[in-house]
Amino acid sequence: MSEEVRLMKGNEALAEAAIRCGCDGYFGYPITPQSEVMETLMKLKPWETTGMVVLQAESEVASINMVYAGAGCGKRVMTSTSSPGFSLMQEGVSYIAGADLPALVVNVMRGGPGLGTIQPSQADYFQTVKGGGHGDYKQITLAPKSVQEMADFVGLGFDLAFKYNILTVILADGLIGQMMEKVVLPPYQKRRTEEQIRKECPWASLGRTPDREPNVITSLELEPEPMERRNIALQAKYAEIEKNEVRFEEIMTSDAEYLLVAFGSAARICQKAVEVARAKGMKVGLLRPITLFPFPYGKIKELGNQVKGILSVEYNAGQMVEDIRLAIEGKVPVEHFGRTGGIVPTPGEVLDALKDKIIK
Amino acid sequence: MGKIKGAVEVNTNRCKGCRLCVIACPSKVLAMSKQVNAKGYNYAYMENPDACIGCASCAIVCPDGCISVYKVKIEE
């Protein structure tokens, strides 16, 4: 079959991809700027084709707990939301982490704090990467830079989630969710049969067969020693992920004297800034972390031995910059440039900031 | 006329001594022992076994599933 190329919004591409990659259920609640995800699913009626369940819940609190339960059955389930909704979901997110469950959550970020704005933002970096809910936990975080990646990261997100029994978050911003681009949709993949699920997820609560003990999905452990063992096992899993799953993209870094670091749509702006800088003879490169957890500390540390300074460009007041500084350990100057409130900086502004803060 | 006779067996280790079976018994068969089990509870026992009709009321109200009930019909 030839490739299906479409022009669509990031949110729409994500919804199409969910159906195509064998998703069993989507449970959501409308919030701008991601409402097109559920709207697209409801319009496509996948329950009539692939059998995928789509349900509009009464709140984000309910929708994440529906995801928690669906994941507990070993199903490929997901939800999508935007920042204030993601805050409401933190309870369920923490339970999913505590119960070692695989699931997918999409956060199409908008500006905060509070009700904030419906315009693009990247201010939920800390919330997502450092853990916005209670307890010691992490979640794999993928930051798409294009409509294509919005589609591609659904399958990748589920694969990683089931590889490690962990929550994957697609941390997009309002710009990626709303903008239209050309996208090649993934091919259709069958939903797993119950037999496959029972084999792949022997822990799933699907109804107890006589050959096994009851399966219980829980994060509760009142005795301190077993609870600590659970925590140690979680940390070991996160360490394994940090070892295996770091993903990033490098643009013109090999000879770079100055480095921009940006994720999501901010990386697209920085890519243009690199082109402009190169045209002026400035040796500027770009590192785009694709996984925010695991974060490419090693790669940044390595580039720190080569460049004279680093500028972290984010749609926030300075969040990822802290992780870059951790990687660089003071070897070269690391500064932040960002806009907030839903304002997206121009490539020119980025270069001006690079000159002001780093090159001087 | 046949006569119904019953008997109950209390899992004394599981019993928590709540006394609800004693109250539920219509024939005043059960009482609480002066002895305690490993957890320190006074457990239920048949103080008046001849009166038992095997109605299972005691077992039905027992919150801990401690009681098994037996019943026979004796032909006279």
């Binding site: 669906g70 109804g207 | 801990d64 004796i74």
Partner: protein, 255 residues
Amino acid sequence: MTTNDIMKPENLVYKKPKLLNDKTMHYCPGCSHGVVHKLIAEVIEELGLEDKAIGISPVGCAVFAYKYIDIDWQEAAHGRAPAMATAIKRLLPDRLVFTYQGDGDLAAIGTAETIHACNRGENIAVIFINNAIYGMTGGQMAPTTLEGMKTSTCPYGRDVTLNGYHLPISNLIAQLEGTRYVTRQSVHTAAAVRKAKAAIKKAFMNCMEPEKKGASFVEIVSTCNSGWKMSPADANVWMTENMFKAYPIGDLKNS
């Protein structure tokens, strides 16, 4: 005939269901939870649904329900059990999906999830233990606490000017088009236990009908003798004299 002659396997007429395992339950002596656990185990056994049942346990005293009934379980965040049951039943329509919730879980923090799951007409069963108090956290006021009733957070009695009124949530639930069976039962006498069991059985059988006809909701008016600071026997008396006035026993809806 001696007692030993009677106690023979062929004469056995009642025993604990096998599905209720041999672990000693953590509940206080005389707690209604134990009886309801036993009924759920009996009904699942009688319906032969051991391999189809998926229970959702709450946050509260019954958080460990999963330790005692040997079926698959999921343990919910406080109040979220009906949302979880919704997802499981939609993803696995041929399963028996039920929640087991207390009054704090169901009628306070989980009111939204409860009402919306019922209103969507989910083919699930909700087993609701109403003992008018928070048991696990040590006897605080619940939404279902009666006016004038003393708890650790209303030590002078529930004052309606401060805390409002007891919440008869089953009456609200019965109003919803999405419910098909709403009943209020108790487990303080053998006769009451038999009726409660019939109610649970009906609710579970409703869930197994392939057509989605609505949620079944079984409230069990219960005692919390520790929280109420009474003996189990006195708690039963207090319940019949006080709780039943606010929460009358019987079907609220049976269609």
